[in-house]
């Protein structure tokens, strides 16, 4: 009995010790409180509606990989999209480069596939007018070359937008002409004037191109990016995991020198690349993919920002005089050649906007995976272009470094007066390594909340649901409702048309600038005052990736009414416009006192 008591007592003691140990164990630290900061974007209604299926736009850019498994770097670029109101009906039409394919006994003959022009019929409907307008073939019935991009401008100042198409081995310039000069009702067509314009030679591999009056004579000159010195003779075998062959990186090739052509005003262009002080190519320079022409230092002369792949981006500050194009390359010193760590990125797409409402154009660059996209705030002072890398501060770094970004644009998707950002993504190589890295990627939408961005990609609507091989992106108001729409070109997958449906209860104002005698307006700046706030938009050439966006400017107003509108023309002159009504487009002609309301077709 005594031993039983002893055992029981021992057990009780043991239990007590165990309980003490349990209750007196070190308490784990409390959950780290959420430190706040930028809250995730609340889910809101979609800001875009995918209308591709019912639009009549049914086109796929082909890169050739369906025919041959060459894994050529040529196949990695894809194509862009262009918006051009070619027939002057007030509705933007859509041009889509077709890409190319391989043929011949060893499938190494590079051939082009036809591009497409879709005429905007209104109501979100388009019709294929490629053959009617003469874009099914080049001059003398020659077939298309392997195409990538396009640029739009009225190069001959006749009031009609013309079209430049870029690609492998050459470019093509199409002049917008009347079908019958005696009967305007017969419409417009395109005439391949490449050779007559002096653009028939000298190009090895053109990607993005941009128009802008660089020498101040009113005629738009051309900047053409060239990519790398690839050919079948320079086609090494590459692999990223040591086993599976893949497309070589741009580091395997020398960069090609870019080109700048001066518009003579006589319907032709002259290659002035050398005199203009463009940088030369080489293994660590000049692998151009994107170009944007815009006045960055506020001197009225449009400057040029170039996105290069894996090497320094260029910033060419304009030092031209009439008839003489000159640049000073200031990318490194101004801070836009590299990222915040001083490293060159794989840069593809570009745009400029004023997301913080500083009145100066900030630069935006889309980059490769494992890199941050670059938002560079313009802190230039007179005589010194200077930019600060603001990606992290603007909240954009929160999206991570998962994307290979291409076409992009500042768009005010919800018409709140703050420019948002949209990016289309897709991998450049065939077999990305790592389970979380896929070839097809989803697009990104970053909503701007007074200068701070939040990821709101699902608000791109159903288009967001499917990852794609995104490349080109053109932004423009296809239905003239003040909401910017998007045309996205994907590689080996159908192009898409997204209708902007955001900000339904918000006001907006649209502006079309027309220079004196149709002079090029790139470099102009427009400031809108509304409700004590100022918004600034910039007349740009190029931008995005291999694409041409709507050159009209859209201002989201929220609940405000438009106040004074000030236009700073590239020649230094200024004009003010007042009494503007919201929710409509105005044509502002340089030198004309009043703004012309445009009765826009929908």
């Amino acid at each position: 009995m005594r031993s039983l008591s002893f055992i029981l007592g021992f057990l009780v003691l043991l239990g007590g010790v165990a309980a003490s140990v349990y209750f007196l164990r070190p308490t784990p630290p409390l959950e780290q409180p959420d430190l706040g900061g930028l809250a995730p974007e609340p889910l809101g209604p979609p800001l875009f509606e995918d209308i591709t299926a019912r639009s009549g736009v049914n086109f796929t850019y082909q890169n050739g990989e369906r025919t041959a498994n060459h894994l050529a770097i040529l196949e990695s670029l894809g194509g862009g999209a262009g918006l051009i109101d070619y027939d002057g009906d007030g509705l933007l039409d859509i041009f889509l480069p077709g890409g190319g394919d391989y043929t011949g006994p060893d499938l190494k003959e590079i051939v082009g596939l036809p591009c497409k022009l879709y005429r905007n019929l209104g109501g979100g409907k388009f019709e294929d007018v490629t053959v009617t307008v003469g874009l099914d073939k080049l001059a003398d019935g020659k077939p298309w070359f392997y195409t990538h991009g396009c640029a739009v401008a009225d190069y001959d100042r006749d009031g009609w937008p013309d079209l430049l198409v870029t690609g492998w081995g050459r470019v093509a310039l199409f002049r917008n002409v009347a079908v019958d000069p005696n009967d305007p009702k017969k419409g417009r067509r395109f005439l391949d004037v490449t050779d007559q314009a002096g653009l028939g030679s000298g190009i090895l591999w053109s990607t993005s191109a941009a128009f802008g009056d660089l020498d101040g004579d009113g005629y738009p000159d051309i900047y053409i990016c060239q990519y790398v010195d690839w050919s079948w003779k320079k086609h090494p075998a590459c692999s990223y995991d040591g086993k599976i062959p893949d497309v070589c990186p741009p580091k395997s090739f020398d960069g090609l020198p870019h080109k700048v052509y001066r518009n003579t005003g006589q319907g032709s262009f002259v290659d002035v690349s050398k005199e203009a002080n463009l940088r030369s190519g080489g293994p660590t320079a000049s692998k151009g993919l994107g170009v944007l022409i815009i006045d960055l230092d506020g001197d009225g002369k449009p400057d040029i920002y170039v996105a290069n792949d894996t090497v320094d981006n260029f910033l060419y500050l304009n030092r031209s005089k009439p008839g003489e194009i000159r640049f000073e390359e200031r990318g490194q010193i101004s801070g836009v050649a590299l990222d915040d760590r001083g490293t060159p990125n794989g840069s593809m797409g570009l745009d400029a906007g004023d997301p913080e409402r500083t009145g100066k154009p900030n630069l935006w660059v889309t980059n490769y995976e494992n890199e941050l996209h670059g938002l560079y705030r313009n802190d230039s002072k007179p005589g010194m272009a200077f930019f600060h890398f603001r990606t992290a501060a603007a909240g954009i770094a929160a999206i991570g470094q998962l994307f290979v970004g291409w076409g992009t644009a500042f768009v005010d998707a919800d018409l709140d007066g703050w420019e948002d950002l949209v990016v289309t993504n897709g991998h450049a190589i065939r077999y990305p390594t790592g389970k979380n890295s896929s070839r097809k990627q989803r697009p990104v939408l970053l909503m701007n909340h007074q200068g701070k961005f939040r990821d709101a990609s699902p608000r791109l609507g159903t288009y967001y649901d499917t990852p794609r091989l995104g490349r080109g992106l053109a932004a423009g108001d296809l239905d003239n409702d003040g909401r910017v729409d998007l045309v996205l070109s994907n590689m080996n997958e159908p192009a898409a048309v997204l209708r902007g449906i955001g900000g339904q209860d918000q006001h907006w104002l649209g502006v079309e600038l027309v220079g004196k005698q149709h002079a090029c307006v790139v470099g102009a700046r427009v400031v809108l005052e509304a409700d004590g706030q100022r918004q600034t938009r910039f007349a740009k050439g190029g931008g995005s990736y291999c694409s041409a966006s709507d050159r009209r400017m859209n201002f989201g107003l929220g609940k405000a009414q438009p106040g004074r509108l000030i236009v700073h023309w590239p020649d230094g002159s200024q004009q003010q416009f007042t009494g503007l009504s919201p929710d409509r487009y105005y044509r502002l002609v340089q030198g004309q006192e009043s703004a012309e309301p445009i009765s826009a077709k929908k």
Binding site: Q32, D340, R341, H388, G395, A397, G400
Partner: protein, 396 residues
């Protein structure tokens, strides 16, 4: 009488049991050391393994297999004399065969000898000895910058032992060296999945997600680490970086201020603090941070680059130019080193290349790595005068 007999029988039986028990205990007790040693060896706690084997061998000095295991532990501890001694005793105890010869070959490789083709072939077989050989070959390939070979070895090793933390982290490291961050993230994720309490795996995953993932994902890892190791500077720095990337500048500032106070000479922390001031739009406040960072890490081009940018934005153009020139100088060295690394992967036996790389690394403050390269150069070519004199200078 019968009662006395039965008592005697019980006593004898008890005695027999006691003696049997003692014998059993005497035989079995040391085995605990052997088992513990094996477990420690498996877990790569080589010091502990060696101790356990020594304890076991004190009572079982002629156990050949234990000597072989002890040799393995000593080899990994780089106690090659002891390793050879254990192998000798192993052979003396009559243990012959492939395992002993393989162990001798592995010791030779770990001591710096070039692996023989036969050893490489043996490592390709599908058994435990092959994995042993593979471990050593992987280390050799990593040490001699044969990264493609190391990667192949690690992949084979992980096919056999997918949950091996060391191998998983090592392959992540190699992916990072190749700049294949997505693959590195994948390996680190798997390391965390199989070893959720490994702070090394969590830290690597968090740091790599900051390079190739999203800051929100990285934050998850750093939060986990912060709960357990709130004082570790790398954890606090990771947290601050996540907050900054998420645009949470005030939170990042609090973390970095405390960190900079505790680690006033850590270049990475100082640089991050300077960047934060730039994010806040205050270049004047960023300048002293970048100055300190550049002093703390004089060979880091990032520090020099940020200081030059900051000075430029403050209008201190003359001094900025000096730092820009410094960046260019560092860039040239980095470019050269990249070329050497690529060349070394193609020509691993080129002593002059190793020497050039070693000297360049020393010039840029990477002393340990530089010494390793120079020693490799000397091993490949003992007459390599430049490597010898550089090492002599360092020794002095």
């Amino acid at each position: 009488m019968s009662k006395q007999w039965s008592r005697t029988a019980i006593l004898l039986l008890a005695l027999l049991l006691a003696v049997g028990g003692a014998v059993w205990f005497w035989r079995q007790y040391p085995r605990r050391f052997l088992q513990a040693g094996k477990a420690a060896l498996q877990a790569r706690r080589y010091g502990e393994a060696r101790e356990q084997f020594q304890q076991y061998l004190a009572s079982r000095p002629n156990d050949a297999h234990a000597h072989l295991l002890a040799a393995r532990a000593c080899r990994w501890l780089r106690e090659y004399y002891d390793a050879y001694e254990h192998l000798r005793r192993c052979r003396e105890a009559g243990y012959q065969g492939e395992a002993v010869e393989l162990e001798a070959a592995l010791i030779a490789v770990q001591r710096g000898e070039e692996p023989t083709p036969a050893l490489r072939q043996r490592a390709e077989q599908d058994d435990e000895l092959a994995l042993l050989a593979l471990e050593v070959l992987i280390q050799y390939d990593l040490d001699t910058y044969q990264l493609h070979q190391a990667l192949q070895g690690l992949t084979r090793y992980l096919e056999a032992r997918p949950d091996d933390l060391q191998a998983r982290l090592a392959r992540g490291f190699v992916w990072e060296r190749f700049l294949y961050f997505a693959d590195a993230v994948e390996d680190y994720r798997q390391a965390v999945a199989s070893h959720p309490n490994s702070e090394r795996a969590r830290l690597k995953l968090g740091e790599t997600l900051l390079l190739a993932g999203t800051p929100q994902d990285a934050l998850e890892q750093f939060d986990w680490l912060n709960k357990r190791y709130p004082e570790r500077p790398e954890v606090r720095l990771g947290l601050a970086r996540c907050r900054r990337r998420l645009g949470q500048l005030e939170e990042a500032k609090q973390l970095l201020d405390a960190l900079a106070n505790d680690q006033p000479n850590d270049g990475e922390i100082l640089w991050e603090r300077g960047q934060l001031e730039l994010d806040r739009g205050n270049a004047a406040a960023a300048e002293p941070w970048f100055r300190k960072a550049a002093t703390a890490r004089p060979y880091d081009r990032r520090m020099a680059y940020s200081l030059s940018r900051c000075l430029l934005s403050l209008g201190k153009n003359e001094e900025a130019e000096k730092w820009t020139a410094r960046v260019a100088e560092l860039d040239a060295d980095l470019k050269k080193m990249d070329q050497i690394r690529l060349a070394v992967m193609k020509r691993p036996e080129d002593a002059a290349l190793r020497c050039e790389g070693g000297l360049l690394l020393l010039k840029n403050g990477e002393q340990q790595e530089g010494i390793r390269w120079l020693k490799l150069a000397l091993r490949l070519d003992p007459t390599c005068a430049e490597a010898r004199s550089a090492l002599d200078r360092l020794a002095k």
